[in-house]
């Protein structure tokens, strides 16, 4: 991996800031028009932004967990660890921004912070994410000194795993959606975090490529197990829902995950040394996986409520993100990249990527 020059780093800062502004503009437009400017409706209630939110948090929390783990297993240098923590902070803040941009009425967000309704996994998610970011910031400051910090590393590891489990259950506790309520859901979220974290790790520390390859294979196996079990051994509802995924309106996202997210990432990682690009395709694949999971699960209730079979469901639904949703997503990612570059310059006082 080559050194990024100061000039390139400055260009990246400007480009990411510009993308962030695009996201902000898309959000202001959405606020003025309402969510009618998205591709969502009363059945498909969560789409691209929430899928990307899950993927970004998986990447950020997965990377933070690996940084914490490396305190004990020593597979990262202190420089790589600091960079990893900075990346994780930026990813988690970008995820937080994205989920706020997805709200219909964000001006009342204050009530989420003060309700302390811990039967709601959204509330747990909020507090876990906030705690993760705070701990990661403290960890970054401590790690910048170059000394090992096992206690804070362990706390970061636990919180990161915690947030992924909370997000898995956030979906799984909607028990009327068979696809989400499956016991595979938390496992799939954890393997997604392992994939996201190790992809970002490989981008920062190319010598950890093997971990990334293992994560890609595990992720492929978990997905195939999830899909295969539902198709072969599931209940009627589970089978019908999975048919929507493999051969119905959401198949494009499933095949994108398999082809771009897994196969292309594997080829890039094994045949070339373009690990940054491989990490990007892996995370895009992760977002595609979350997207088909959300969309197919959402249609289940509609089918049940109307007592109809999968054929009619197929005729009823399709989802393509609108330009506004794409703008929001790109914008939040831009803000994340901008934050990472800024943290690299200010806290770590080095350009963003170093030679291995």
């Amino acid at each position: 991996m080559s050194n990024i020059t100061d000039k390139q780093s400055r260009v990246a800062l400007v480009v990411s800031l510009a993308l962030g502004l695009v996201g902000l503009a898309a959000w202001l437009y959405q606020l003025s028009q309402g969510l009618q400017v998205t591709g969502l409706n009363n059945t498909l209630i969560w789409g691209l932004t929430i899928a990307v939110f899950f993927a970004i948090i998986a990447g950020g929390a997965g990377l933070l967990a690996l940084c914490g783990l490396s305190e004990f297993l020593g597979f990262m240098t202190s420089e790589q660890r600091s960079r990893g923590i900075a990346f994780a902070i930026a990813a988690m803040i970008a995820g937080g921004i994205l989920v706020i941009w997805d709200l219909g009425h964000p001006s009342q967000f204050f009530y989420l912070m003060t309700s302390f309704n811990f039967t709601s996994f959204s509330v747990l998610d909020f507090w876990f994410l906030s705690a993760c970011i705070v701990v990661a910031v403290v960890y970054l400051i401590a790690a910048s000194s170059g000394k090992p910090h096992r206690i804070i590393g362990a706390v970061a590891l636990l919180l990161s795993v915690g947030i992924i489990v909370v997000e898995g259950i956030l979906l799984a506790n909607n028990s009327s959606h068979h696809l989400w309520a499956s016991s595979m859901n938390v496992i799939s979220f954890l393997s997604g975090a392992f994939l996201g974290g190790s992809a970002l790790l490989a981008a920062i520390a190319p010598s950890r490529k093997r971990l990334f390859v293992v994560a890609l294979i595990i992720s492929a196996l978990v997905t195939l197990a999830e899909v295969g079990t539902a198709l072969v051994a599931g209940t009627d509802t589970a089978r019908h829902t999975m048919q929507l995924v493999v051969a119905g309106p959401f198949a494009a996202y499933f095949y994108f995950q398999i082809i771009v997210g897994i196969i292309v990432s594997l080829v890039l990682a094994l045949r070339t040394n373009r690990l940054g690009l491989a990490a990007l395709t892996a995370i895009l694949g992760l977002a595609a996986e979350k997207l088909w999971l959300l969309l197919a699960g959402e249609t289940e209730i509609w089918g049940q409520a109307h007592h109809i079979g999968p054929l009619q469901v197929v005729q009823q639904f399709s989802y393509w993100p609108s330009l506004v949703e794409i703008g929001l997503t790109v914008g939040a990612i831009g803000i994340g990249v901008f934050l990472f570059l800024l943290l690299s310059r200010v806290v770590l006082r080095r350009p963003a990527v170093v030679v291995e």
Binding site: L40, N42, P106, L112, I301, Q304, A305
Partner: protein
């Protein structure tokens, strides 16, 4: 509420009266009649299912709501406080009956080629863009001694509203009444009598 499926003719009077009473935006249905087809030609029949919020005793929508905007009153009616709702739609995912709708902000009215009528404009003002809403069991009418608009408008008296512990409703319940999706353990306050 008890809905007698033998009496329901699927005329949608309840749907229309609910929309009139609450002035909900196009695409928003707090009360509706879901229609599907059963059997195959020449024996195919139309199956209708009037629906609304079930005002569950154990409402999953309330449990998952992060802000406390969804709440259950002492009398069992489940409501949404639009001044607390952040529009996260988690309650919509959690409700097993697809009873909730989101206000996507479409204010074009029922006749987009003309301006909103003054009634439309007045009623739409009461709905908050970007929040979730659902059937209120017409609690304001109940408090004034009336009954929900849908039950009042039903021409065949398929929708019977009252105290589920009363003699009249208990007698109806004994005719094989069932709740939708009992596996969800929500214990709905709305029962159906079989066709």
């Amino acid at each position: 509420m008890i809905i007698d499926l033998k009496r329901c003719i699927g005329c949608n009077a309840c749907t229309v009266t609910c929309k009139q009473a609450h002035g909900t935006a196009p695409g928003t249905f707090w009360c509706q009649v879901r229609a599907s087809e059963e059997g195959t030609y020449p024996y195919a029949t139309k199956k209708v299912l009037p629906t609304l919020c079930m005002h569950c005793e154990n409402p999953t929508c309330v449990h998952v709501c992060p802000t406390g905007a969804s709440y259950k009153r002492e009398d069992g009616i489940v409501l949404v406080d639009s001044e607390r709702c952040i529009g996260c739609r988690y309650c919509m995912a959690a409700c097993p009956y697809e009873a909730r709708t989101f206000d996507f902000g479409d204010r074009s009215g029922y006749f987009p080629e003309q301006e909103q009528t003054s009634y439309e404009a007045m009623m739409l003002e009461q709905h908050v863009k970007g929040t979730v809403s659902k059937c209120t069991f017409c609690h304001d009418k109940l408090e004034a001694g009336g009954m929900p608009a849908c039950a009042q408008a039903c021409p065949t008296h398929a929708r019977v509203f009252g105290d589920l512990d009363s003699e009249e409703l208990q007698a109806l319940l004994k005719r094989g009444a069932y709740q939708a999706r009992p596996d969800m353990r929500t214990n709905p306050s709305v029962y159906y009598l079989p066709k």
